[in-house]
């Protein structure tokens, strides 16, 4: 298929993304494995884009991993989510922005269910009130944090200090995107580009100078599979899925992977380490690994944030090959320095990352 044809198809899978005044809910997985990404997201929203984005200290997990691990019943998950909506309502916001794809999928599933079965929504309202005394208004707009970055990709691109371009060759970096199963496989109309023509990350990559690789297993699961990773005895499933993706993308010689979901980058990063340990196999150029990034990390690098302020030192697969190609200056000595810098961590949620 010609690229122009694909562009035309993508254009049919657009969604409404609010312009300002966001209620932000954090991701359990992203906070644990990619804390620098959430810091960078809020910095971009507040300092680069001058947006109003609010985080309530009393919000909790959405319970999504417990729900898809099948220990949390659907009625319980719905009511936990309803409580999050109540916090949003009480804070005076209506544009709900989760930082997690599992959460985004769960919110989408619940809102669709309530739309078609108003009696279930009514029951959840009663249960929430009985348990907490809280009430809620359904969000006016639901957008994943990456949707918001996608919406403002041009504004971010206009401020770019670095591009996704190999400074030595002038060629665009070849980028593999992975949007995460629960972004749009359940409800394609709720994701930019739907499930078949993923564009939320591709739009960022193209705007910032890179080139997206369309490879056969682009839409395959990273292998989280909830219980398939949570229980040690099942992890063969998880690594087998990632391996299938690596083998499919390898012939296209990608420079990097960009991800949407908080869990996927962890699996695509760690399983490369394990496959190398087990089989001595690496999938990147020059017998290197393929660096894996969150979309916030990529946006931060483009804007010139320090790689170690973004938390790239938490990755197991080294990111330096991409930093070097982009011409990003960094201090190798600082990589493993955990000491708090001046100005860091003093005002949580409002900190500068450099």
């Amino acid at each position: 298929m010609k690229l122009e044809g694909k562009r035309a198809i993508w254009s049919e899978y657009q969604k409404e993304i609010a312009d300002d005044r966001y209620f932000y809910v954090r991701s359990c997985i992203r906070q644990n494995f990619f804390p620098g990404s959430e810091v960078a997201f809020l910095k971009i929203m507040r300092e680069e884009l001058n947006k109003d984005i609010f985080e309530h200290p009393c919000h909790t997990t959405c319970s999504g991993i417990g729900y898809h691990g099948d220990v949390v019943p659907v009625e319980t998950a719905m009511t936990v989510v309803a409580r999050q909506f109540a916090l949003m309502t009480e804070a005076g916001y209506s544009n709900y922005v989760p930082s997690c794809i599992t959460s985004f999928g769960l919110y989408t599933e619940i809102l669709e269910t309530w739309h078609h079965y108003p009696e279930i929504e009514e029951k959840v309202r009663e249960q929430l009130f009985k348990a907490t005394g809280r009430e809620f208004v359904i969000p006016g707009n639901l957008a994943h944090a990456s949707d918001v970055i996608y919406k403002f990709r041009k504004e971010i691109g206009a401020k770019a200090k670095y591009k996704l371009i190999n400074k030595n060759t002038g060629e665009p970096l070849k980028v593999v995107d992975h949007i995460g199963c629960h972004y749009s496989k359940m409800f394609p109309s709720k994701g930019v580009g739907g499930a078949e023509y993923p564009y939320v990350l591709a739009g960022m990559v193209e705007e910032w100078g890179g080139k997206i690789i369309d490879y056969p297993e682009r839409r395959h699961c990273c292998g989280f599979g909830f219980r398939q990773y949570l229980v040690q005895a099942n992890r063969g499933f998880s690594i087998a899925c990632s391996k299938e993706k690596f083998e499919s993308m390898e012939p296209f010689k990608p420079d990097m992977i960009i991800t949407n979901c908080p869990g996927c980058p962890m699996f695509l990063d760690r399983w490369q380490y394990v496959i190398n340990e087990m089989e001595g196999k690496r999938y990147g150029k020059n017998n290197e690994g393929i660096p894996v990034f969150t979309y916030e990390e990529v946006a931060g690098l483009v804007l010139g944030y320090d790689p170690w302020d973004l938390g790239l030192q938490m990755h197991q697969t080294d990111c330096e090959p991409v930093l070097d190609k982009m011409g990003i200056e960094y201090d190798p000595e600082e990589k493993n320095n955990t000491s708090t810098r001046a100005g860091m961590g003093k005002t949580p949620g409002f900190v500068n990352v450099r």
């Binding site: 909790t60 199963c181 040690q232 961590g345």
Partner: protein
């Protein structure tokens, strides 16, 4: 004998996930679990829509229903708008409600998920917390994770987090009143009951198998269900 089909129909995910399957097998073709395990979602949906009570009971006690990774790739592809993944979620819920989950190796793992993710939700407010991602339980995380884990508080705060601190921010301490609300939600909506059932049937099974099981994650039964793979699950 209860009518399992009727019980399944009480789950909204079953009602939404299964209309009339025409057995085309597209779900199986796209399914990551079907590539790895001896697993065929088409057959499961076909069996369930037959409403054969004995066969459904066998399924509820089987390894099969625990192979799905709930990626929902099947939902996108089904030409009839079915979602075998949602059918699986309803089957798993019923298997736990009836205590059938302990009859399979994969089903017994539900106790491990309950005692890790399930307990974490109510104790910390997070599904997963850095404190519980111990390198010994997660060798796949690699040597870099050992450094992250050892320096977790310092590192998270160096990146701008608020590790176990008050107020908003990354890995903040979720206030006790928020945790109390979560616990009350679990009581009111059946979440607590699900946890209790998983514990009750697991303790019965541990006795039957002669494996010690206390309330921790460091006992014979927990280690057995967390680590054992009898090797019969894949093709």
């Amino acid at each position: 004998m209860e009518n399992y089909y009727d019980l399944l129909m009480q789950d909204i995910r079953f009602e939404e996930g299964l209309k009339a399957c025409m057995n085309c097998g597209v779900c199986t073709a796209i399914c990551p679990a079907a590539e790895f395990y001896d697993y065929d979602p088409r057959k499961i949906v076909d069996l369930v829509q037959s409403a054969d009570n004995e066969e459904i009971e066998k399924l509820l006690k089987s390894e099969t229903i625990w192979y799905c990774g709930e990626c929902m790739s099947c939902k996108t592809r089904c030409p009839r708008g079915n979602a075998p993944g949602l059918v699986i979620m309803a089957l798993r819920a019923l298997s736990q409600d009836l205590g059938f989950f302990v009859e399979s190796e994969k089903g017994r793992q539900q106790l491990a998920i309950k005692r890790t993710v399930g307990e974490s939700i109510l104790n910390t407010g997070y599904c997963v917390h850095l404190d519980m991602i111990h390198p010994e339980l997660h060798p796949e995380q690699g040597p870099n994770w050992e450094w992250v884990y050892e320096n977790r508080s310092e590192l998270v705060n160096r990146l701008g987090g608020n590790f176990k601190g008050n107020g908003p921010g990354i890995l903040r301490k979720i206030p006790e009143e928020a945790l109390d609300e979560l616990r009350k939600i679990f009581e009111v909506t059946g979440g607590k009951r699900r946890y209790e059932k998983i514990e009750y049937y697991s303790k019965k099974k541990a006795l039957e198998l002669g494996l010690d099981l206390d309330d921790s994650t460091d006992n014979e039964y927990f280690r057995h269900i967390y680590k054992t793979n009898n090797g019969s699950h894949t093709k």
